[in-house]
Symmetry: C2
Subunit: 117 residues, 2 copies
């Protein structure tokens, strides 16, 4: 009953396929992929990592990331929509910070993984 069925975009091993499917049904793939995408661009990743240290205004974030004010602003909106960063306005300055410390934990887990290779 194993490996004797043809493939043809059908199934080779039904049990394994169903097992894997169950695993996928438990999570919101779309949402997860979106979250990872937040970290998948160098500008956004630099913004996020800079904010693990401390709160920064838009102007300083642009300097740190080495891109234009407009570019950071666009990416900050992106990260705001994903609830990754938090906005705090004082006068005409806008300070950004990470919405919660889980982000730092995730960053460190990945950092350690990459160091081990």
């Amino acid at each position: 009953m194993k490996d004797d069925e043809t493939c043809e975009v059908l199934v080779v091993d039904k049990a394994k396929v169903n097992h894997a499917r169950e695993e996928l049904e438990k999570v919101d793939i779309e949402k997860m992929a979106e979250f990872y995408k937040a970290f998948s661009d160098t500008t956004r990743l630099q913004i996020i990592m800079a904010l693990t240290v401390e709160e920064l205004c838009v102007c300083d974030l642009a300097t740190v990331a080495g891109v234009s004010i407009s570019a950071v602003s666009h990416q900050l909106r992106y990260l705001r929509n994903l609830s990754v960063v938090h906005k705090r306005k004082t006068g005409r300055k806008v300070y950004y910070s990470l919405r919660d410390e889980h982000i730092s934990t995730i960053l460190n887990t990945v950092k350690e993984h990459l160091d081990e290779t």
Copy 2:
């Protein structure tokens, strides 16, 4: 000495900027972003999550992810180049698995984070 300099793509708070810069210099941003990108596409994420359960052949991966054989194969090459997956060939079938268990750890950390929102 604080907040009294103009912005103009220069710096508002030099100390903070330098502090953030030091943090960024410690890591390879390019490499990290590339790693996150592996998880940022729904097809790739489905492949990776399916492989946390068990080894699967290309055909079954296509079924589980709900995409064509060609599409999975393209993405598997991508993941192979990033050393995320491992290839094992038996006869004319090719079985893929995750290269190490760190991946599962990372996936779980993020999964928990998203559940808490």
